[in-house]
């Protein structure tokens, strides 16, 4: 049971009593919900406390908060230009939430929220909703021009269908990328951890050999930290790219 590498992804209710019910389906407070609450509280608390001193020469914490602010602000500015900056709160929240979920998931024994497709798909759908609403708010009905590429009229019907499918596939590719990366990395870690346990239990020379997968785990752990950051970055930059299209339609072509 403990050696099952997929065991870490199982969702368990922490309280036996359901919180409430939606049309008969009981909603429990699960380990996943707990982790999300922890992530949100920890991130908010860190950011609020870090910028509290507000010194000219920043403390370590303030410097980290300022760095993440500048990182996201630069990302939005380079991807969408000046008028994209009003989406800073949205993109920054998304980036910090995904990043911290990934990092909190790296703590042994905790739970990786972003390894659940339900979470990443919900985030991706939120992004698409914001993109669509922005597009309609800014361009009105002209937003549909996003689906009309420059092409001869006789081929347009086919191209419009292709563009619509391409647009609809975005939330899926956005969520699957994050979810699959986290799932794969954590499964790999668990598999190698299983090797350590079974080699150690084998006794004799084999027990000594269990050092090898242990060393590998350390390496993979470092790699996973990089992936955790990179996937949060990719999620945020793609959000910016999609927002840019909604804001400027085909202007940049």
């Amino acid at each position: 049971m403990a050696l099952n590498p997929m065991h870490q992804f199982s969702i368990k209710p922490l309280v036996t009593e359901p919180l409430f019910a939606i049309s008969g389906h009981p909603i429990y407070f699960t380990n996943q919900a707990l982790l999300m609450v922890i992530v949100v509280l920890a991130t908010s608390l860190f950011l609020v406390l870090a910028v509290k001193p507000n010194r000219l020469v920043p403390t370590r914490g303030q410097s980290m908060a300022e760095m993440s602010y500048e990182f996201v602000a630069n990302m939005i500015h380079s991807a969408t230009g000046e008028d994209g900056l009003k989406f800073f709160p949205f993109v920054f929240t998304l980036f910090m939430f995904v990043l911290c979920c990934n990092f909190f998931g790296m703590v042994p024994g905790s739970f990786t929220v972003t390894s659940q497709i339900a979470v990443t798909l919900a985030l991706a759908c939120l992004v698409m909703l914001v993109v669509i609403l922005t597009g309609f708010a800014k361009h009105g009905i002209r937003f549909f021009m996003l689906f009309v590429p420059k092409a001869p009229i006789y081929i347009l019907p086919l191209l419009i269908v292709i563009e619509v499918i391409s647009f609809c596939s975005r939330p899926i590719s956005l969520s699957v990328r994050l979810f699959a990366n986290m799932l794969a990395g954590h499964t790999l870690l668990a598999v190698f951890a299983g090797f350590v346990v079974s080699l150690g239990a084998a006794g004799g020379v084999l027990s000594v050999l269990s050092i090898a997968p242990m060393a590998l785990i350390v390496g993979i752990m470092l790699l996973e930290l990089l992936v955790a950051f990179l996937q949060a970055y990719v999620f945020a930059i793609l959000t910016c790219i999609y927002l840019n299209e909604a804001l400027h339609l085909h202007d940049h072509h």
């Binding site: 269908v161 596939s169 899926i172 990328r177 990719v234």
Partner: protein, 115 residues
């Protein structure tokens, strides 16, 4: 304590500005890794396939609901269109990644010239 020399202050300000612009230019953004690019392309392609196939299946189901037995005509049709949309996605992703790599290369070249 004497008043600070304005020339020296201006000079200091100028040097600080120079340093800051140089540092901003040399902040390197690593180009996307090979496996990252591969994974990006795969998800883009497969996602469009899934959406295309799903859409076709849905249309078939809807028509079947009203008594027209079109299954699997729309499923096949939209699956093919989904492939086209997937390739469109991959091409778009490739342009984005190329632009990103070009940006990293040009900032590298700038940093190289200053040294």
């Amino acid at each position: 304590m004497t008043a600070p020399d304005p020339d020296r202050l201006n000079d200091l300000g100028k040097r600080l500005d120079e340093l800051q612009t140089r540092q901003a230019a040399s902040v390197k953004r690593a180009p996307p890794s090979q496996s990252g690019i591969a994974f990006r392309f795969t998800t883009e392609l497969v996602a469009a396939l899934v959406v295309g196939g799903g859409l076709g299946w849905g249309i078939d189901w809807l028509f079947g609901h009203f008594g027209f037995h079109t299954r699997p005509v729309f499923l096949v049709l939209f699956f093919v269109v989904g492939i086209a949309a997937g390739i469109r996605n991959v091409m778009r992703a490739a342009t984005e990644i190329n632009a990103e790599i070009a940006k990293v290369r040009s900032s590298d070249a700038d940093a190289g010239e200053e040294k």
